[in-house]
Symmetry: C3
Subunit: 160 residues, 3 copies
Amino acid sequence: MTGAAVEPELRARIEDFLAAAAFAVDDDEVERWPLFFTEDGFYQIIPRDGYEAGHPLGIMTCAGRGMMRDRIAALRDANIYEPHGYCHVLARPLLERTAEGEIAARTNFALYRTIQGRATELFAAGKYVDRIVEDGELRLKSRHVVLESRRVDILIVLPI
Amino acid sequence: MTGAAVEPELRARIEDFLAAAAFAVDDDEVERWPLFFTEDGFYQIIPRDGYEAGHPLGIMTCAGRGMMRDRIAALRDANIYEPHGYCHVLARPLLERTAEGEIAARTNFALYRTIQGRATELFAAGKYVDRIVEDGELRLKSRHVVLESRRVDILIVLPI
Amino acid sequence: MTGAAVEPELRARIEDFLAAAAFAVDDDEVERWPLFFTEDGFYQIIPRDGYEAGHPLGIMTCAGRGMMRDRIAALRDANIYEPHGYCHVLARPLLERTAEGEIAARTNFALYRTIQGRATELFAAGKYVDRIVEDGELRLKSRHVVLESRRVDILIVLPI
C-alpha cells in the first residue's frame, strides 16, 4: 500500500474497532456483528489463491447487512451444527488512508476453534483486507477474509 | 464493557506490563511472576463454560502472592515434569477504566508449548480477564485465565 | 532489558517496520526482504536452547545482504520445494534504546505455513531478538530468530 499515514488517535480507534468486531463473534454476540459494517457493506471469505487470481467467487459472500442478518438468523434457528466457539488473535494492522478518504487496513490473524468437549485447534490463518469508512462511527465498507488454505470446513457457520 | 476510555500513555504502559508478565513465564523467570500481582492478588485458570456459568471453582486458583510463590517453589523443587517452555502471543487488549478507578482489561491470547525435544504445539487459547490497579507500579488485582477448552493437560505446571 | 524507553512515535514506526518485514515474506515479495537489513546485517535462525547456551551456530545464518540475496535467488531458481505460504502473527514488541543509541526489540511470534493444497498448520513459534538502527530508514542490524523447538523442517526455504 502506498497511501497516506493514519494519525495515532485514529489508529487506536481503528485497532479497538477491529478487536471489537472479533470479540462480537468470539463472545457469542454475533447478532452485533453486522453493525460493524455499513448498511450495504460487503463481506467475503475467500482462499488466498482465488483472491490473488482476482476470482469474484469466495467460500461465502454477504452483500449488505440484510444478508448478514439472514445468515446469522439461520444459524441460530437451525442450530444443527456442533456447538463451538472462536478465539481470534489479531496482529497489528497495516493502515493507510486512500485517495478517497477511506482507510485501507490489512490485518493478519489466527483463529482458534473449540468444539464443545474437544481440545482447541487452529481453524484458520490469514488476513483481513478491509476498507473502513466513518459515518459518525467506524464501519467496514468491505472485508475480504483471505484464508491461507482453501481446506476449511465446508460448514463454516460463524463469521470469521 | 462500557467504562471510560484509557489515555494513550497509560495504554502503552499497560500493554508493556501485560507483555512483561507473559515474558516472565516464557523466559523461565517465573519467580518474578507473582510480582505482577498485588500482595493479595487473585489468579485463576478456568474454562470458558465454567466462567460464563459463574462457577467459582477453576482448574487452578491462587489467592495472594504467597500461594503463587508456594506453587512456583513446588514446581522448581519437585521438578518431576517434563521440561517445557511457553511462548505467549497476545492480541491487543480491550481496556476500560471502571467506576472504581481500576482498569478492566480483556486480552485474547494463544499459548504455545514446547516439550524438550519435541515440536512446538498449541497448548491453549483464550482470554485474560484482568483487573489492574496502580500502587506506584501497575499490578494485577485479579486475573481470570479463561480457556476456550476444558481439555488441557491436568498437569499444568507453569502459570498460563 | 533495562535500557531507556522509546517514544510513542518511534514505537509506532518500529511496529510498522516489523510488520512490513513479515508481510514481505507472507506476500511472496521475498526479494524485498534483505532491504529490511543494513548492508552488513546479520540474520540467524537458532533454536532456543542453542541461543541460551550462547552457541554461535544456528540452523541458518546470513551475514550481509549479499548472502540473503543469494539465498533468495537460489530458492527462486531451484524451485524444487513444495509451494507454500507463510502467515506471521506478531505480538507487541518490547522495545528499549541501548546505550549505543540502537533499539533492542523482542517480539514473540507464531508462524503458520500452508503447503499448496493442504490445511494451514503451525510451523514455528518463538521470538525475534533484534537490533534496529536508523540510517534515514529503520533497518535491522541483526535479527536472531529464536525458535522454541529445534524440530523444524530441515528444508526451511523462506526466511522466518
